[in-house]
């Protein structure tokens, strides 16, 4: 048996070698949502088409670039745009390296209970918000594996997206590591940001495991640094499961920073309609130290909508 295993691993990939080729991958989605925040109703629409173009060099390195035609879909004042290729990804057998724009550090790993994508649009702000806020920009990221562990590291050399490698005012860096432990998957992540001399560091951890026919996620986030409203801890939990073909999830996140606390509870529901279409509903509520409700924003927000994948 060992010989068979040895032979399997020893068969060179070149045995099956194919000629280099260029690939085009197209994907997209469209969505419409109705949001109600304390009686203030609004609608959002959006979607886009993404084009991913790649080629493989003679040495087996895959180089990928992506561009898109899009319409921002989570704000009432939707903004349309077309983007050229702003980043290149080099794929190797052991991982990939991305250089360019929209590189982000792995923050938010521990906030597993923050589930909604539309309902928070018109929600009042929490006073304490543990975690980093701005960490994306021009940079380089690497994803690879060490044994059974997956590692991602990122360095954002210009958070202002100006392409300034060695003198930008806003920089960020971070790394995350995922591995199977026990019945679940543990992810540890750290991220640092320097925004014009204001420094903050986030540590995040999550543990995701199958439980009771669904998936249980537990998370922790700790932030340390110069911004008092971010400096503290957040604990988070979520449980998702399927009920008769529909996906249901409930999540909770508690923020405790600068002697103030705020809680966020999210519930999401979605079900496929066939043919790439689905309907979804979201509920979110924040309590504790939060901003006052206004004519357009409230602590409790619901959203219902539909999305199509194509």
């Amino acid at each position: 048996m060992k010989k068979i295993k040895y032979l399997l691993s020893a068969i060179p990939a070149a045995f099956f070698a194919t000629s280099a080729q260029a690939d085009i991958s197209v994907s997209g989605s469209a969505n419409a949502a109705y949001t109600d925040a304390g009686g203030n109703a609004s609608a959002t629409y959006g979607g886009g088409v993404s084009f991913s173009m790649s080629t493989t060099t003679d040495a087996g390195v895959t180089i990928t670039g992506a561009s898109a035609i899009s319409n921002d879909s989570d704000s009432v004042g939707s903004s349309s745009g077309a983007t050229g290729i702003t980043a290149l990804t080099f794929g190797f057998s052991g991982g990939s390296i991305t250089i360019g724009a929209d590189v982000g550090t792995p923050d938010g790993v521990g906030k597993v209970g923050e589930l909604v994508g539309y309902a928070d649009d018109n929600q009042v702000a929490k006073t304490p918000v543990v975690g980093l806020t701005e960490d994306e920009g021009d940079g380089v990221s690497l994803t690879t594996s060490i044994g059974d562990m997956s590692l991602t590291a990122a360095y954002v050399y210009d958070g202002g997206a100006g392409g300034n490698v060695d003198g930008a005012a806003n920089t960020a860096s971070g790394a995350s590591l995922s591995m199977a432990i026990g019945a679940g998957t543990l992810t540890l992540a750290t991220a640092d940001e320097d925004i014009s001399g204001t420094n903050n560091t986030e540590f995040g951890a999550s543990y995701v495991l199958a439980a009771g026919g669904g998936t249980l996620s537990l998370g922790f986030t700790g932030t340390d640094g110069d911004t008092a409203a971010k400096e503290g801890e957040a604990v988070s939990a979520a449980y998702s499961t399927s009920l008769g073909g529909a996906s249901v999830a409930i999540g909770y996140t508690g923020h405790d920073a600068n002697n103030k606390t705020a809680n966020q509870t999210d519930v999401t529901f979605s079900t496929p309609l066939g043919g790439g279409a689905s309907i979804f509903a979201e509920y979110t509520n924040v309590s504790g130290d939060i901003a006052a409700s206004t004519s357009t924003k409230d602590a409790t927000v619901i959203a219902i909508g539909t999305s199509v994948s194509f």
């Binding site: 690939d23 991958s25 886009g48 390296i97 590291a153 790439g276 979804f280 994948s309």
Partner: protein, 185 residues
């Protein structure tokens, strides 16, 4: 700092050049879906991913397929499959004599229905095949063979390791895929 960071990344990358990466990423995909912390999806990509996840992995117009047909006439440009098409087709070929319970070409997963032999109705087995790579590599396919025996009215896993059978299935898939790669899909 940038130089140190670059050097650090390079050392890790060189150290970690292994064939585990694709299978590790596939496992994380299965666990986290769109929220895989190692995917680093942009906001737009996340929306596309969530829309597809909510739709159970289906697409309305299948733009990938349309582009594939469009570019089929030009042999240098083809649509990018999420799994290697030769390994995928080889997996279907190996299991073609059995009824299939799952054949997910996006996730690269094939599972047969329970297979029973008329000479022994108290045993049943099934085959699971996972294509884990977009590239035609020998580690891009995993096979597993599960069997149960009937005890009273209950089917109980026999807890036997079918390593030899699993390797035979994997080798057969690689053999067929190698032959398919020499002819146009």
């Amino acid at each position: 700092m940038f130089k140190t960071f670059t050097l650090f990344l390079t050392l890790i990358f060189i150290y970690s050049c292994s064939n585990n990466h694709e299978s590790n990423m596939a496992k994380l995909d299965q666990t986290f879906g769109c929220k895989d912390p190692h995917k680093n999806l942009s906001k737009r990509k996340m929306r596309d991913c969530m829309a597809k996840q909510r739709a159970g992995g289906e697409s309305m117009f299948d733009l990938n397929d349309d582009f594939n047909k469009l570019f089929r006439q030009d042999s240098t440009v083809v649509y990018q499959n999420s799994v290697n098409p030769y390994l995928w087709n080889a997996g279907l070929e190996v299991t073609k004599t059995y009824p299939l319970k799952i054949a997910d070409n996006q996730g690269g997963f094939i599972e047969t229905e329970w297979i029973r032999d008329s000479s022994d109705m108290d045993q049943r087995c099934l085959i699971k095949i996972q294509i884990t790579s977009r590239e035609l590599i020998t580690t891009g396919v995993k096979s597993s063979f599960l069997c149960e025996t009937k005890q009273g009215d209950e089917w109980i896993a026999d807890n036997v390791d079918y390593i030899k059978e699993e390797n035979q299935i994997t080798l057969k898939i690689l053999d067929i895929a190698g032959n398919l790669s020499k002819t146009p899909l």
